[in-house]
Symmetry: C2
Subunit: 342 residues, 2 copies
Amino acid sequence: MAKDEKKYSIPTIVDVARESGVSYSTVSRVLNGYEFVRTSTREKVLHAAEKLGYVPNRQARSLAGGRSNVIGILVPGLDNGYIGEIVRGIDEDLAKSNYDLMLYTTHRHEGKESRYVTSITNGLTDGLILVVPLIPTAYVEALRQRNFPYVLIDQSDMSDKSSIVDATNWQGAYDGTRYLIQLGHRRIGFITGLLDLASAVDRLEGYKAALSDHDLPLQPEWVVEADFWQAGGYQAAQALLALPQRPTAIFASNDLSAFGAMEAIRDCGLRIPEDLSIIGFDDIPQAAIAYPKLTTIRQPLAQMGRVAAQMLVEHIENPDRPARRVTLATQVVIRDSCQPPR
Amino acid sequence: MAKDEKKYSIPTIVDVARESGVSYSTVSRVLNGYEFVRTSTREKVLHAAEKLGYVPNRQARSLAGGRSNVIGILVPGLDNGYIGEIVRGIDEDLAKSNYDLMLYTTHRHEGKESRYVTSITNGLTDGLILVVPLIPTAYVEALRQRNFPYVLIDQSDMSDKSSIVDATNWQGAYDGTRYLIQLGHRRIGFITGLLDLASAVDRLEGYKAALSDHDLPLQPEWVVEADFWQAGGYQAAQALLALPQRPTAIFASNDLSAFGAMEAIRDCGLRIPEDLSIIGFDDIPQAAIAYPKLTTIRQPLAQMGRVAAQMLVEHIENPDRPARRVTLATQVVIRDSCQPPR
DNA sequence: ATGAAAGCGCTAACAA
DNA sequence: TTGTTAGCGCTTTCAT
């Protein structure tokens, strides 16, 4: 179908060449910003292109060895608020550099991600941003060997062979815990994230370090393992609330599980923050909408996306630049869900 | 760069042909499911492809006149919860049909969307889903003329030349208003959406009709114009609350503005739902997280996405199928933000 | 049932 | 500074 219509309507580089009376490689040069073109020629070509409404054909361009001007982003799914913000940041930055965005979700291809990634990086995209939480060693390795530009978001891979953007997870948890301690809390429960993820572990460690630095004992039963999801937060909070020595504050490893915890707290007939303080992590948009507004540790998600996009474009345009890691600062955002214990 | 690496590592159809000892057009046939290929040949080829880890090159395929197996989705931005759900639905459905998803945001290309759309539909994608709220007449017309497959989401274009997926906006608003009336409310404020949008107008009309059907007067000052955003909802609610005859319930045209209104209500020292009931529209994920949980009119957003994806694939695979409109039912979701007036 | 060859729109040597 | 030409990987006639 599309094939036929193309002929009718969409002008190619050849049409532009004919219109402007030069060879079509000259048109290509002009369009690619090649330096040594006579100004008058350039103008003729540009004018003709404008007149004809020429738009480049990305696949032809990329097939011929040029850039596709598409970057891919591989995410687990869109259903957690967290990713949405990152994608937004990426898109914002890419708009400036005139790259298009191809969105891939991994949940569609359980098991054969590796082949999937090959397909993506096989000319369709110039670079790839991976927001997959688990370290995807297999294909990251493949990408590196092929020297295909990519950036990881929120990964702990310390090999410094990959470019990575992340946030200060440890410090954020430390700061949040300290904030609760300074409010006067002594019994602080902690709901972990999925401990397969480095970010979850780092947050837990930050919490522990803060307790220890303030000479508070670490009660093992105050740490309940969960999975970063709302339902998990609900259950974890229930466990915490059932404790004989109930915590006066709960630190949830992300906002989503904090919401679950808030629900559990209310279902117990307790008020937030009067009876129990709660703090989250991430600062997804919902955090400011929830009631009470959630005090949380802000990860600059959109900015992480923006930085990742910038780094990726750098890599694409300068393949030899070495990998680097950028760690953005988290920040305690004080809202209404915490107060001193009674 | 990518160019060089390709040679090293990524097998093409030619490699598969060599490996299996047939011509590469035969390989192409097998890969495209062409019927008349000897079974033994097919197996040889498939086996070789598998062994080599062959993945098709989408641009080459599409350049040569085949399908790209990519569908594009054009959205205003990712920052409203609403779109995210739709995209999720689309992605879910597309996973089944093995199409990839290209995400385009319009805010990047103010003014020259038309050319942008040309670029997208110029072979890069096999079809396009448009979630742009304002009717994009210019390029929709262009798409139709080129017979390029597309589906609109949430558009009112009644020409029945375009395939459209939407929801029962009028009915939803009617039902919601009736629900409030049945709770006993007589003074019901209404916060509109951006009235340039048909969905906003439909919702307003549904509200009016419900009042009228129940012999309630329509007080002009109870209808405050807003824009579907949280800040707008806040202001609109303020206006409503300042009225001498304050409404006992507020219908917000979408959840986001309902959240804004809730904030304003609380800032006035009023409680929800004890002092004032509020109902939203959309049922974005935040609605169930907010406190009190928001009673709202559910639009099946993810399902709208799924249906749109299905329709689009149908159109791609059968270009002659006539356009059609699918309107999905809305539904009152009763949570905790409404109660009878005191 | 299979092979040979043309060509999709473009970039990038190589000439001129 | 510009034109000529050879592919990029694939689909699709047209032969065989």
